[in-house]
């Protein structure tokens, strides 16, 4: 079962992305916490592409594709912008330091890495693609 969505690079589309993912996962009889974790991981990657890779340029767009086969969820998020966006190696955020510094960002990719079984960013032509996967028990 596959499903896909295309959105312009504006953070106002994040709600649409989450609703799309929830609707897809609702049909799989999963616990609410699992659904929320997958929704969150996808939301974080899409927000990163929109804000950091594309500077919220609404003329650019992202394609999201979800597929489940044999209890394995595979997610592909393809950025059609021209900036190659490859987040660095995952590091655990030092939250005590973040609190002290009053820091707002820097936790999104740490969350994604803890929520999904596999997280990969790679290039396809001059675009960036993110692949996420998770085993659904």
């Amino acid at each position: 079962m596959k499903s896909s969505l295309r959105i312009a690079c504006s953070r106002s589309h994040l709600q649409e992305v989450r609703d799309f993912v929830r609707t897809y996962l609702m049909g799989l009889d999963l616990p609410e916490i699992t659904i929320n974790q997958v929704v969150l991981a996808i939301d974080e990657v899409v927000a990163n592409f929109i804000i950091h890779a594309n500077g919220e340029d609404e003329t650019q767009f992202l394609d999201l594709e979800l597929a489940v086969a044999q209890h394995e969820l595979n997610v592909e998020i393809a950025d059609h912008g021209d900036t190659i966006f490859l987040p660095g190696a995952h590091q655990s955020p030092d939250l005590r330091a973040y609190i002290k510094e009053g820091r707002k960002g820097g936790m999104g990719m740490a969350l994604v890495n803890r929520l999904m079984d596999r997280v990969e960013f790679f290039t396809r032509g001059n675009h960036t693609v993110c692949h996420l996967s998770k085993h659904l028990a």
């Binding site: 989450r18 939250l95 936790m107 999104g108």
Partner: protein
């Protein structure tokens, strides 16, 4: 995302309603950044209707926490849905923030 502020004596209760993400976090940030919020002894955050939080939402709370602590304002979360608490837990924020089950416990915290 809707934020409703309910002041009462030395406590300000913020009712969060909706989904807190990279798009809506600014609404909460504006509320927490108000200078007079530091005049309260406690800020209680009612999360009963908070149905989603992303790292952008967590970041808003983290970015104001030290300012609150420096002013001796206690920030307490209550009525948090399990799926939202799970996000705090995954990052270990449940150990760094005060999260209690009910309004009564938040008032007593």
């Amino acid at each position: 995302m809707k934020v409703t502020a309910q002041p009462s004596a030395d406590t300000l209760t913020l009712l969060l309603d909706g989904e807190l993400d990279a798009s809506s976090a600014i609404v909460l940030d504006t509320e927490l950044a108000k200078p007079d919020i530091l005049n309260y002894r406690k800020v209680l955050v009612d999360c009963a209707k908070l149905s989603y939080i992303s790292s952008a939402g967590l970041g808003v709370f983290i970015s104001h926490l030290q300012r609150f602590q420096d002013a001796n304002v206690k920030l307490v979360f209550f009525n948090m849905q399990e799926k939202v608490f799970n996000v705090f837990e995954i990052l270990g924020l449940d150990a760094l923030m005060t999260i209690v089950p009910s309004a009564a416990e938040a008032e007593a915290a």
